[in-house]
Amino acid sequence: MIDTCDQIFVLLQHWLVSFLPAAWQTAAGVLLSVAAIVCLFPALFALTTVFERKGLARIQNRLGPNRVGPFGFFQPIADGIKSLTKEDIVPLSADAAVHFLAPVLLVVTVFMGFAVLPMGRNMVLVDLDAGLLFYFAMGASSELAVFMAGWSSRNKYSLLGAMRAVAQMISYEVPLLLSSVVVVMITGSLSLTKIVEAQNHYTWGLPHWYIFTPWGFAGFLMYAIATTAETNRSPFDLPEGESELVAGYHTEYSGFKFALFFLGEYVAMFSISGLGTTLFLGGWSAPFSFLTWVPSWIWFFSKLMLSIFVFIWMRGTLPRLRQDQLMNFAWKFVLPMCLLNLMVAGLWRFMGDGWLRWVVCSAILLLAYVGLGLGEMRRQRLGPRSYRYAE
């Protein structure tokens, strides 16, 4: 019974496909999975927009959307209808073809990433041996879409936003990769299924997730920072920083194209959170050994939503950085930390079991964090101040 629940989607797919001739079954199976992903994530996106708006509202002591449907949960339907019926404006001087292609390209590349994500036990569309590589290749091409959007709009704000976006995304691509490499080093595989399998063990009922190791924790933090930048979320939402650039690279988009950008951004957030879950949070594995009876896909999606919640929480709290600070942060803080983390991961590998490697690895990382952080703050002369008073 537990197994059936766990594998319900896999079984369902097999059952549906079994109606077809054997020669078509593989193709049909893939199509079915694709259809599932293409339906599921936009639905999740719709749900997330409500949650985000309500969550942000609560953080800000407001009520949030509560007019459409019960508790406002039909709000995305209204929003969807609105964006579908709105006029699609293309600026006169814009490059119409590129202007049209940009949102399409964004959405396509973003969805491609899901192909290699294991969303549950045996639930992966294509179990590539180099899944991680494929994922990053796809993720990197979304930058092209953003730049196409900004360039083709022929708007100064769009152009500035696009340039910011490209600079930012390329810069953070490096720490993103480097922070993931530690996982590959330890696991010895680029296959995401194997990475999850490697974490799916328990000692005293506690899981062997990589986040619970010094290098994994540091790697996860770096990964989280890099993903926030990569998905243009606050506090790294400079490409669309509305206070200075109106709406950044999608200033000139309206109607459904704008909705596509919005969709692409959120789906990218899901997919990159899913990857983070897979790499550091044990993918679909349960947090305690006695909870392994809960279907694996539930764990995957709960972890996904939890990271989305953290994204929303950060958005509700933090102001954004400036472009040069963002770059400085990437190259002078995150990148050195990632490189150090690579060495620490190697050290961890060769020090063998025992408490010593915990102490040594944690100490190195902590010292480097404090040293780099304080050094950077001091270099930029930042810090709390005291004030004098005149009577």
Partner: protein, 394 residues
């Protein structure tokens, strides 16, 4: 004070044009990117426009353009009686109408030599300091909003402002357009119940300031964004007529509440916080600290207020005809020195009615502060000036 004296000494032998913005050379080849920020830009606080020339994202030239909200307030006032201008002053700086009322009432009282009863002075101080508190809170909120914090501090500030506006509404009948002060007092008296409710609100204000500090004060991103950004030197600040928290953030000890001691401010015990760097962070912190000083003043005023009349019975409301002459009255409004200059020719309408708008004059140094910075900092520096377009354009 040592800093001030030194700056005055420097001032005497400054070269010609030292107080003009220094020209910036572009670092890159090719054309500059000319951007017209505003008048419908999300962070220009209304209809303000800046003609910006960018070299990459660096600001090479910045020219403010005004007048999109110009309604010739001064001309309107010259065409109607002294009393009829009072409600229009609400609409200058619509975040703090009370202080606008006060400045105008003060100028007319100077012009006609009118005395104000003590209770009215206390009420003016109470309302004025509440106004200062809510103005500073929401201006910090707007500043952080421009830094991209999705409005969270702004909503907290507005939550608190709501309580203060409720008090205003209960007393004056309107939340923002209060039209409360008259020449020689205040329009209506505050009931004991109102004072009790005010005491209750004031008791909660410092908790809110703590919350704000907790949320923002030590935030690394905020520090990185604001420290060292938009530095205003004290000698330029004084020379350019910058007033209010912005001047004090540059380290100049000049608070009209202390200097003029208008109303009954010299009865209260409060301090004037001063910044040492003159950057955006200092402006933000000075506002925070002034909010705490406002709470001090409020506590004292609410303790000491005595019953009595709120209007001088001899004061004339309608048909005021001051003797020919002129008067300049100024107060420390939350945004800076708000002054009214009135010339009377003996008629029922002022011959000349001039508003000295702190928002406009504080913007004089906008270009100086913005040249050479990143375009993202322009909105930040602009936000830290704390302006209201209703007052800039009048």
């Amino acid at each position: 004070m040592s800093e001030m004296q030194s700056h005055s000494a420097i001032l005497a032998d400054k070269p010609q044009g030292w107080n003009r913005p220094a020209a910036i050379e572009p670092q890159n080849e090719g054309e500059l990117l000319e951007v017209s920020m505003g008048p419908h830009h999300p962070s220009t606080h209304g209809v303000f426009r800046m003609d910006v020339a960018l070299d990459g994202e660096r600001v090479i030239r910045l020219k403010p353009v005004f007048g999109y909200l110009h309604r010739n307030h001064e001309k309107l006032a010259e065409g109607q009686s002294y009393l009829a201008s009072m409600p229009y002053t609400d609409r200058l700086d619509y975040i703090c109408p009370i202080t606008n009322n006060w400045a105008y009432a003060l100028a007319v009282e100077k012009l006609i030599g009118q005395e104000v009863p003590e209770r009215a002075e206390y009420l003016r101080v109470i309302l004025g300091e509440l106004t200062r508190y809510q103005n500073h809170a929401s201006s910090i909120g707007f500043l952080i909003q421009e830094m991209g914090a999705s409005g969270t501090p702004l909503m907290y500030a507005f939550r608190e402002r709501e309580k203060i506006l409720d008090l205003f509404e209960e007393l004056t009948g309107a939340r923002m357009m209060v039209n409360y002060m008259r020449f020689g007092g205040c329009r209506v008296d505050a009931s004991p119940g109102w004072l009790d409710r005010t005491r209750k609100v004031v008791a909660g204000l410092s908790g809110f300031a703590d919350e704000f500090d907790q949320l923002l004060k030590s935030n690394e991103i905020l520090m990185a964004r604001t420290q060292g950004v938009g530095v205003l030197r004290p000698e330029l600040a004084v020379n350019a007529g910058v007033t209010g928290p912005m001047l004090r953030a540059s380290g100049v000890n000049y608070d009209i509440r202390k200097v003029d001691g208008y109303g009954i401010y010299n009865r209260f015990n409060f301090r004037v916080p001063l910044g040492d760097h003159g950057d955006v962070y200092d402006r933000y912190m000075i506002r925070m600290l002034e909010m705490r000083e406002s709470i001090e003043i409020l506590n004292q005023a609410l303790r000491e207020i005595q019953p009595g009349p709120v209007m001088d019975p001899k004061a004339k409301i309608r048909g005021l005809r001051p003797k020919p002459g002129e008067a300049y009255g100024r107060i420390e409004a939350p945004k800076g020195e708000l002054g009214f200059y009135l010339i009377s020719d003996g008629g029922p309408n002022p011959y000349r009615y001039r508003v000295r708008p702190p928002s406009l004059i504080n913007l004089t140094v906008l270009e100086d502060m913005c040249l050479g910075v990143n375009v993202a900092d322009v909105v930040l520096i602009f936000g830290s000036v704390d302006i209201v377009l209703g007052e800039v354009d009048r």
